[in-house]
């Protein structure tokens, strides 16, 4: 029964049609922009590019997601949808999972689709692509969990975008570090599994503590309206 509710919520998030697709595409465009600007700024030396590639991909993924974090819950809160969900007896953490899952699916697919082209542009071997994609996927999901929490906390504040950025940095640091290490290991041809396992553990940990905390934040926001 939870699963049918989750599916209903998930379909609601993903099936909004053009608006969500446009959001995902603009996030992908931002990602590409950062990934292309960087080599232009750094200079074409292939060794240096390959060295920095892992960090670059991760920073690009994080920065391109930030504008969407800000808008994550605000529309549903303002329209009264969250209150309606509460009155239907739907747990808000389920709604949060569905929302994050929907966003993950919509945003990770273009990212992974762009990866082959990025790898070529930065001189990475195509053999490292699968591990790259895997570590990026796991890390991005952890990022979304934390970003959702930051979004729930800062929603409704004055200058919420700035507040969000201040909150995100210390929260994301471990994910960023382990993610970049996983990517760099796979680029260098070394076993990335230990890093990916750490990323998975981190992701699972945040998947357990973030949605209830975010639910608490949303309920507090509803209280204060």
């Amino acid at each position: 029964m939870m699963m049918t509710l989750f599916w209903l919520l998930f379909k609601g998030e993903v099936g909004k049609g053009w608006p969500v697709i446009a959001d995902a595409l603009s996030q992908a465009a931002f990602f590409i922009m950062i990934a292309v600007l960087f080599p232009l700024a750094v200079g074409p030396a292939p060794d240096r590019l390959a060295e920095l590639a892992g960090a670059l991909i991760w920073i690009a993924a994080l920065l391109s997601a930030i504008p969407a974090f800000d808008r994550l819950f605000i529309e549903d809160m303002r329209s009264g949808w969250c209150e309606q969900l509460l009155s239907y007896g739907t747990p808000l953490w389920l709604y949060i999972y569905a929302k994050l899952a929907g966003w993950f699916v919509l945003s990770i697919l273009p990212l992974i689709g762009i990866l082959p082209f990025l790898s070529i542009m930065m001189g990475l071997s195509l053999a490292s692509l699968p591990v790259l994609a895997l570590s990026l996927s796991v890390g991005v999901f952890a990022m979304l969990l934390l970003g959702g929490l930051a979004a729930g906390l800062s929603m409704g504040a004055r200058r919420s975008a700035m507040l969000l950025s201040v909150l995100i940095l210390p929260l994301m640091l471990p994910v960023l570090i382990f993610g970049v290490m996983a990517v760099e290991a796979s680029i260098a041809g070394q076993p990335a599994w230990p890093h990916i396992k750490l990323l998975l553990a981190l992701c699972l940990f945040f998947a357990v503590i973030c949605p209830p905390a975010t639910q608490f934040a949303l309920k507090s926001a509803i209280e204060e309206r």
Partner: protein, 252 residues
């Protein structure tokens, strides 16, 4: 630390009475210890054979680091009490700690940077401890920004408390990740994570300075809490709204 024993001091007026008695003792004690500690630190202890006189910054840097960390844990604990028991004193305690903890984190960063210049040649290195302290500082700032970023302080209080809790949970993870990153990226490091071996002749002045700073910290927190309690009482007194009277009619 006295500011953690809230179950015993649940009543605000009782707390205020106790705090007013303890605070001057703390201030007095810390002033004495500071005097003694500074004498020991500057004159009564030897310079390091490797670093010379600049090692004396340690007597400020290390206590500041400890206070920043324990301050954040105190913040997290107060936040927990506030969320679970909705206790006003817990919220006041958290608010009191935030700028002080942030200040000590900043002192730790600045003294760490000043200490590092003669040793490493630069004002900043991304070593595990300094980076973790920077993240801690950001967590403090995040708490303050959330707290006061809303239109009314009540809105921000709950959100900031959640952040404080998540921050406490996250802190060991951050420390671990920065440690690991550091060891993988910088194999040769002058400042190993264990720190330098501290000679026993430096331990005693360090303890005295520790105690001095700790008492000073407690005094500041108690002082701020008393001030905030008084402010809130004043606000409440000014809000004499007419009591609502409602009536339920009969069935019509």
């Amino acid at each position: 630390m006295a500011n953690l024993k809230f179950d015993a001091l649940a009543n605000p007026s009782q707390f205020a009475r106790l705090a007013r008695k303890i605070a001057p003792i703390c201030l007095f004690g810390s002033m004495i210890l500071f005097g003694w500690g500074l004498y020991l630190a500057l004159f009564g202890s030897p310079a390091d054979y490797q670093q010379g006189e600049s090692v004396r910054i340690m007597y400020v840097h290390v206590p500041a680091a400890w206070l920043a960390l324990s301050g954040y844990l105190g913040l997290g604990l107060s936040a927990l009490f506030f969320i679970v028991w909705k206790h006003q004193l817990a919220d006041i305690a958290a608010q009191a700690i935030m700028p002080v903890g942030a200040g000590f984190a900043l002192i730790c960063l600045i003294t760490g940077s000043l200490w590092g210049k003669p040793i490493w040649g630069t004002y900043w290195v991304w070593d595990a401890r300094l980076t973790s302290m920077l993240v801690l500082f950001l967590f403090f700032i995040g708490y303050g920004a959330l707290r006061f970023g809303f239109d009314t302080p009540e809105k921000g209080a709950k959100m900031a408390s959640i952040l404080a809790l998540i921050g406490c949970i996250n802190l060991p993870i951050v420390k671990f990740s920065v440690d690991w990153w550091h060891t993988l990226h910088q194999p040769a490091s002058i400042l190993r994570s264990g720190g330098m071996a501290i000679d026993s002749s430096m331990l005693w002045p360090l303890f005295v300075m520790f105690a001095a700073f700790q008492l000073f910290f407690i005094w500041i927190i108690l002082h701020r809490m008393l001030w905030m309690l008084a402010l809130r009482r004043l606000e409440r007194r000014n809000q004499t709204a007419p009591a609502a009277t409602a009536r339920m009619s009969a069935e019509q």
